[in-house]
Symmetry: C2
Subunit: 406 residues, 2 copies
């Protein structure tokens, strides 16, 4: 069971979370609880570090910011003990959760289960583990970076062969689309790992991509549910192997992302290797290129369009101008359009059903929405459109694919 | 070098403290810095624990409250690195500072020096150690209790055979008496361990008794100085072996304590073993009895007077009434007087000079102050008097023993 920062923001909320743990213990389960820092604590600690040292040593950063989770772990163990549930806290180095030495973005190497298993054998019912942290081969404290607590939870579930991994958060599950944009959005009871991965990377903020990847690799049943609503066995959304989903949806959800910019290189000299000449300097500059479209070539010249996150536009322009100045590429003009957005439909059933793309394009066309760029994967179709049409597109696609119906 | 909570209360103050460390590094010293939690942090963490669990598990309490020092240690290391001083932080378990398993009041068992010494050999100039914490034989985090950071500093100085142990605090040294009570109070350049011990246990809040005891046992030269004043080699007060003090003062200081209550058992049946019958139940009830006076016996009965901290009066009354009810002791009445205070003169020269007690009693008598109880040790004389005379007594004694003159 993993509780995020808003679920443990105060000692009262920790008590509420502990009650949910108590319910599982009463059912006979031994439980490993992974906790985040109390909401706001990590930002406070990061603030101290940034005040102290703009170019900080990541090892010291990790030693400082990991404190937030340690505090919650101790408080959660105390709360469970108050409820007569035998519990104790574990900091990363005590487990030990062994990681690589890449401080602030370490990867989990191993979770030996001996120490915690022995304590379960001695009567402990709940191991409360500080999320987001581990220990390097050098004996220094590491942190796992973004989404680290979700990843910790999934890794523990895999290491201990847990029956389920429940992620408690401030939303009550995964929806067919963003309920703030489309009031017909419906909570999904189940979703396949691959679909969740596409939705996570497309901007649905429920779970971090990394934790879903890990769950898929080790086939950990993930349940996403709210710590603020009544609990039941059917609550939330189960993220699981597609084989555990009876009737696969052709389309399971519509995702959107505002954080997209479109960049077009106008009149590029079209020659073999031109794509590499453009995208190598972008990659070296740390630009995350998402979609790419090359126009048909006329008289040896073409237009090349790609998308990247909005805050990387400056970096992309700089890299491309430098490549032009050094003669590596040749183009007439560079046009950035930050007034766009990405809308995607995702569904594992697309693998066996055809016509989804055609239907998506027709729906958008009927609404008068012009498509600027298209990309597809086996279970996803994404389009770049003007930002002003985002809500309209999401709602129209949600209707057209009947997503409000279970 | 040890920096207390007010000396590291903000990132700015940490920077100021780091500059002082930098000065010592520039002189060629390798430095071990012991840090407390930023002022207020420990109270915040203790507050969380008390909200969570009134009868808390001390192991979890320790895991939570030790976080404060870890945060400061990381921030101090980062600040030193910003100043181009090679530094790293050490949490108690990383050193490892090995303690007993008495959580929240653990005692230091050993400080292996290998890990930190090896890093000094590799070019590290400053080891920043989180104070107040260690690791138990079971691998759990322990804390050392009150004054734990001072004790950590002295223990490290002893283990590493340090040239000096500088305790930075919010006062600039040890004074002949409390400057808030007596404006003629003078800062002492040097004071002997034994004198400091008497002053510490008598209510001078500069250093905790425990750290002075440890310094005396291992002959660690302790310097107390302010982190808010200009630094010089002669700053502060050096607490050292009496052999390093050229001219020992007959009287070095006048201490006072408001936290005293006088209790009198009236008309106790005087028989062999009566003192044990009275003080054993008090000790079992956790009452810290300080001074004891027994009146001369008349007709087989006597009065017995003792002092204890004000907040233990209720506990003492309860224990004595219980002993009376069970027939273990027999007395006519029990009178508590919380309107008293203790004033003491301390000086290592008393060992060889006589007449200090006589002079003290005459000074108080000349001021019309009645003495209620007297105790003495080899280097101290303490009296219990009415609280309203406290300032007058301190000032008169300070004058009479010429303490304003160096």
């Amino acid at each position: 069971m993993k509780f995020g920062g808003t679920s443990v923001a105060t000692t009262d909320r920790i008590r509420r979370a502990a009650k949910r743990v108590g319910v599982e213990v009463a059912k006979g389960y031994d439980v490993i609880v992974i906790v985040s820092a109390m909401a706001g604590k990590t930002n406070e600690l990061v603030g101290y570090v940034e005040e102290t040292s703009p170019l900080f040593d990541a090892r010291e950063y990790d030693a400082v910011v990991s404190s937030g989770e340690n505090i919650t772990a101790g408080l959660m163990a105390l709360t469970l003990q108050e409820m007569d549930v035998p519990a104790r806290s574990w900091q990363g180095w005590q487990v030990p959760l062994m990681t690589t030495s890449q401080h602030s973005s370490a990867r989990i190497v191993d979770i030996p289960t001996d120490n915690i298993t022995r304590k379960f054998g001695e009567g402990m019912r709940v191991a409360v583990v500080a999320g987001f942290q581990g220990i390097s081969p050098e004996g220094r404290i590491t942190t796992l970076g973004r989404g680290g607590s979700d990843t910790t939870a999934v890794a523990f579930a895999a290491a201990f062969d847990a029956e389920r991994c429940d992620i408690y958060t401030d939303v009550d599950g995964v929806y067919t689309t963003d309920p703030r944009i489309c009031d017909k959005a419906r909570k999904l009871d189940r979703i396949a790992f691959e679909e969740m991965l596409e939705l996570a990377s497309l901007g649905a903020k429920v779970l971090q991509t990394r934790s879903v990847e890990l769950a898929m690799r080790y086939n950990v049943k993930l349940r996403v549910l709210s710590s603020f609503e009544e609990q039941s066995d059917e609550a939330g959304t189960l993220v699981c192997d597609e084989e555990e989903i009876m009737e696969l949806n052709v389309v399971s959800g519509v995702a959107h992302s505002r954080d997209e910019a479109k960049m077009t290189l106008i009149s590029v000299a079209d020659r073999p290797g031109i794509a590499a000449a453009i995208f190598t300097p972008l990659s070296e500059a740390g630009v995350n290129v998402d979609m790419i479209v090359q126009n048909i070539s006329e008289e040896g010249r073409t237009d090349m369009t790609f998308s990247c996150p909005t805050n990387q536009v400056g970096r992309a322009e700089q890299a491309l101008k430098k490549a032009k100045d050094s003669g590596d590429i040749n183009f007439h003009d560079l046009v950035a359009d930050t007034d766009v957005c990405k809308v995607s439909v995702v569904g594992i059933g697309m693998r066996s059903h055809t016509g989804v793309a055609a239907k998506m394009f027709k729906v958008l066309s009927d609404e008068g929405i012009n498509i600027k760029v298209i990309t597809t994967s086996e279970i996803k179709i994404s389009v770049l459109i003007d930002r002003k049409y985002m809500e309209l597109a999401v709602q129209a696609l949600h209707d057209a694919f009947d997503l409000e119906k279970a």
